[in-house]
Symmetry: C2
Subunit: 289 residues, 2 copies
């Protein structure tokens, strides 16, 4: 029996779909149903579920965007850094394998040679670098708290997208923002991501940290060109002149734009198609909201 924490969120819903599709029985709970932030509550409740694998998709992301985290720091810290530690404690006690949905946003930029950051590279967009949003800082602290955790996967998601138009979908965001920042990023096709996470357990991949982004990277302009080519919208697009202009006009907290190396995941056989192909797949099958 799989247990999904935060299963009604954007990522949680994708997990539900994946598990249903594979015929894997699961229980999904939100924090209002079971207060999994409380160690005793989580332990007692897990004992009743017959859980064989736990997936934590719960976390605190700001609404409408990461800037909101600057105003809700305690909630952000509790959801992204303390909660993974609480789950770790309980899962280690119960000897229950589990996975945590982390984020690639704890990196910024790319390596000097243009390649992406791999799992050996320490986060470079974190409190410890003093260059990050509060959100990224808490996600990096969450990974620190999971360092050395037993029977634990840390899955780094980065800018999810798929074919379903939604306020959380990167492709939809690109179509809705008034003005875009051109930057190079690695991205995660959400279905590839959740399939990879589930495969970690079902195919007994080694525990540890995995960058679950589709191999490669794209610029915002690349994605806009694809959107136009697939005629997903007839609007025109405009871009900020610079990161400085974007920060002045549209953002308060620093943003992560980064390239990740997902070779470790690919070598483990996880189903992440190259980014160009993945974007084509999503746009060819586009389902308007």
């Amino acid at each position: 029996m799989f247990v999904l924490l935060g299963g009604n969120g954007y990522v949680g819903t994708a997990f539900q779909k994946c598990l249903t599709g594979r015929g894997i029985p699961y229980i999904s709970v939100s924090r209002s149903e079971v207060d999994y932030s409380d160690e005793l509550t989580l332990r007692d409740w897990l004992g009743t579920t017959g859980a064989t694998f736990l997936i934590n998709t719960a976390g605190f992301t700001g609404r409408p965007n990461v800037d909101a985290c600057e105003l809700q720091k305690a909630h952000c810290l509790a959801g992204n850094a303390v909660l993974p530690g609480t789950i770790r404690t309980v899962c280690e006690e119960l000897k229950l394998p589990w996975g945590h949905v982390s984020s690639g946003c704890i990196y910024t930029g790319e390596k000097a040679d243009g390649t992406g950051f791999d799992e050996q590279d320490p986060p470079n967009f974190s409190f410890r670098q003093n260059n990050c949003s509060f959100y990224s800082g808490t996600k990096a602290l969450g990974e620190e708290i999971l360092a050395g955790a037993e029977r634990c996967y840390v899955w780094r998601l980065r800018i999810p997208f798929d074919e379903y138009d939604s306020p959380r979908n990167y492709i939809s965001k690109m179509m809705r923002y008034d003005c875009l920042l051109d930057a190079r990023n690695s991205l995660s096709h959400l279905r590839h991501f959740v399939e990879s996470c589930v495969a970690c357990h079902t195919t007994e991949i080694e525990y540890g940290v995995y960058n679950l982004t589709n191999p490669g990277s794209v610029t915002t302009r690349d994605v806009v060109e694809l959107i136009k080519r697939h005629k997903l919208t007839d609007r025109s697009f405009s871009f900020f002149e610079s990161l400085e202009q974007f920060m002045e006009q549209a953002a308060s907290a620093p943003r992560s734009n980064c390239v990740l190396d997902s070779q470790k995941a690919i070598a483990a056989g996880l189903p992440l198609l190259p980014i160009e192909e993945s974007l084509e797949q999503a746009m060819s099958n586009w389902v308007p909201e």
Copy 2:
């Protein structure tokens, strides 16, 4: 009615004594009695108390020392950074004035000219400097989360001592450790500290951050000389040769040693005697455990 959170700890007990001595009615609770880490529980409970001022002495310090925090990161973060944010939210909603016991350990060293750090100086021993213990990192994050809080005092305590022999008393620690690290520090006479905190409210001092250390600083050797002069023990003392030797042999997490400037508190009329006089006072009235 004063409300004391974490009132049974070392600092909380000193507050209780102070309030009793002044005839100020108060309610003291530990987290096992009222789970003040939960926003709704805290708000509902505070509503029943008739609280006019809240004092948060709760926090997570490692036992036997700060090194233990490296192994209990989630609890440390929850107690020192998330909890102050939770209390802030509730107190702002209830328009309740309050004070938070913070720590001077978010600084290291002294200014280039030999003076201490004042409240305008940003912490230099924190996650953002990437040089600190996990404990200091969480205390500094706690202060970040309180930045701009309404009707809120942030009181920085630093190495408490008084005349009562106890495992938490700095003078007692100096007498019990096998080997000492010579370093210069500002210290807080615990009774002066709690009297100053209470005076903030009773004499309507401006809200904000206050370094509540006794003016001046002393070295470990200074304190040992005083201990010998007052004949508190007949043991001999030995010192580590260097910070490096201390770190190798006696510590795992980096330690803060720092000088603070308490002029802001002194200018506000808070009862902090000079450090030499305060140490004399404690040792002259020494009460063995």
